[in-house]
């Protein structure tokens, strides 16, 4: 039953995604925006800080192109239900909300990865030195761990902002803050020492560290602690998201307030 619910919510999510596609939105928005954003955040540090900072930002943006999209879009699925008036129906349906929620981010991840692939194809040739196949495989593993956290964070934002209209705003701005706080473009060393421990445990921070490490000669053994830490952060975010969602569900059923938002 759970597998069927996950599959049906995945299919639903897929249908919404496909219905949104036109040649214009694919080329002009879904593909071009992440690429232009990544190019901007590579070119600026490259010119302001030289080739070393440029390479640093290049690696960071190869990773973050997918993460940004995942945080924003995964937080939007519940918003779309809310806007189309179907969330109260989902809430009262006998089927569990949790497996339905789990199915939705799959499509998001596919979209994030496709945006990331295009960005990688354009930006990766500038990597110096260009990594071999084994390092690329390791980098993909780190990226997947980061995507797990990003999707969990998106769901957490979605659940936390369920009774307000702030979801899209919060996810968008938090994604930018994540870019700054995890040191995608500029090393976090520019920030005060007292906030460094907080920055180190932000979602996707460990995965980004692993991504950088594997591209800079790190071994699989070096990656393991960072990836485990990232998966722990992802699990924490997901647990918090599901808890918040269940609590909101309970409160909203009691007060019948979802249709007001």
């Amino acid at each position: 039953v759970v597998a069927r619910l996950v599959a049906s919510s995945l299919l639903f999510s897929w249908r919404i995604w496909v219905s949104d596609l036109t040649l214009g939105t694919v080329i002009g928005a879904k593909l071009a925006r992440p690429l232009f954003q990544a190019l901007f955040f590579v070119v600026v540090p490259w010119i302001a800080g030289g080739a070393r900072l440029g390479q640093y930002a290049l690696v960071g943006n190869l990773f973050f192109a997918a993460i940004f999209s995942a945080v924003v879009v995964s937080s939007m699925h519940v918003q779309f239900e809310k806007w189309s008036g179907t969330l109260p129906l989902l809430a009262v349906t006998p089927a569990g909300a949790i497996p339905q929620l789990l199915g939705r981010p799959v499509i998001t991840s596919i979209e994030s990865l496709s945006a990331s692939v295009i960005t990688i194809v354009v930006l990766a040739p500038w990597l110096d030195p260009f990594p071999g196949a084994a390092r690329i495989a390791g980098a993909i593993v780190a990226l997947l761990a980061g995507l797990a956290s990003a999707n969990a964070l998106g769901l957490l934002i979605s659940a936390s902002t369920l009774t307000s209209r702030w979801g899209p705003l919060v996810s968008n701005q938090l994604a930018y803050l994540l870019m700054i706080g995890t040191g995608v473009v500029v090393p976090t060393a520019i920030f005060p020492d007292r906030i460094q421990p907080l920055l180190a445990w932000l979602p996707t921070a460990h995965a980004l560290g692993a991504f950088r490490m594997v591209l800079a000669n790190g071994t699989a053994r070096d990656l393991a602690p960072a990836l485990l830490a990232e998966l722990a952060v992802a699990a924490l975010c997901l647990t918090a998201a599901l808890g918040a969602f269940a609590w909101r569900l309970h409160r909203s059923r009691a007060g019948a307030t979802w249709t007001l938002t």
Binding site: G28, A29, F41, A48, L53, M179, I180, V186, I190
Partner: protein, 258 residues
């Protein structure tokens, strides 16, 4: 003339009231300059490139102004269309261009705060920025604001006919930040595209304001004169484009469809 001013002012006030309740607009206007400033100024600080800090901090602020004007031009038309008021605005005796100018100015005006926000952020990451010529700086900011608002009106003509036009605004933003020399000096751009940056008044505003921050003596009127000339061109462009678009929209009578 008085009637025209009254129309623009009424639209300005209505739009300000509307935006006051928009959490997205408020956060985007005031948080984005902080983020961009951390990236541009932070890159200079990290690399020890201190002489580029004034350029980076001013550029981050001007990105905020450009963002607000361009974003506004897209969303004003979209929101009117969604609310069903666009055909009414077009059919009203008051000139739609004046309404859009008032609204565009209202969207762009609060973005002036992007500059002090950018300077404050720079200061927090260890790079103090001081304005050495306050009058020249204020003149550059006000001129840029007016010019980008008029350009926003010109661009909004495209959004009257296209329902998806505003989706492309965030996409073209990043190339324009680079092209206009807001994030990197125009001198590093390839020669063929430098001409394109010359037709963006925000480039000249940024140059004038950076000069007012970096130098204690007034050096040139050229950026101000170029901004004035470009604003005249944008005004003519906005008037012509809207006339063409409005004539077509009235002829087709399809603005009310969504």
């Amino acid at each position: 003339m008085r009637r025209a001013a009254r129309t623009a002012v009424a639209a300005f006030v209505a739009e300000l009231r509307h935006r006051r309740g928009s959490s997205f607009y408020i956060t985007a206007t005031f948080l984005q300059p902080v983020i961009v400033s951390i990236v541009t100024v932070g890159a200079c600080v990290w690399a020890g490139n201190r002489e580029m800090v004034p350029f980076a901090a001013v550029g981050a602020g001007f990105i905020g102004i450009w963002n607000a004007a361009l974003w506004g031009s897209g969303t004003i038309i979209d929101e009117e269309r969604r609310a069903g008021t666009l055909p009414l605005l077009l059919a009203a005796p008051a000139d739609l261009r004046l309404v859009l100018l008032g609204k565009s100015l209202a969207d762009a005006s609060p973005s002036v705060l992007a500059l002090p926000l950018s300077f404050a952020t720079a200061s927090l990451i260890g790079a103090d920025v001081a304005v050495r010529q306050p009058v020249a700086f204020a003149l550059a900011v006000v001129a840029t604001l007016l010019s980008t608002a008029v350009l926003g009106v010109a661009l909004s003509a495209a959004f009257v006919l296209s329902r998806t036009g505003s989706e492309y605004v965030p996409v073209v933003n990043y190339p324009i930040f680079l092209l206009a020399g807001l994030a990197v000096p125009v001198a590093v751009l390839p020669a063929p595209v430098r001409f394109l940056s010359s037709v963006l008044s925000v480039r000249w505003g940024n140059e004038a304001a950076t000069s007012a921050v970096a130098s204690a003596t007034f050096t040139a009127w050229t950026p101000y004169l170029l901004m004035f000339a470009l604003t005249v061109v944008y005004t003519l462009l906005a008037a012509t484009l809207h006339e063409i678009v409005e004539r077509r929209a009235r002829w087709e009578g399809s603005l009310g469809q969504w």
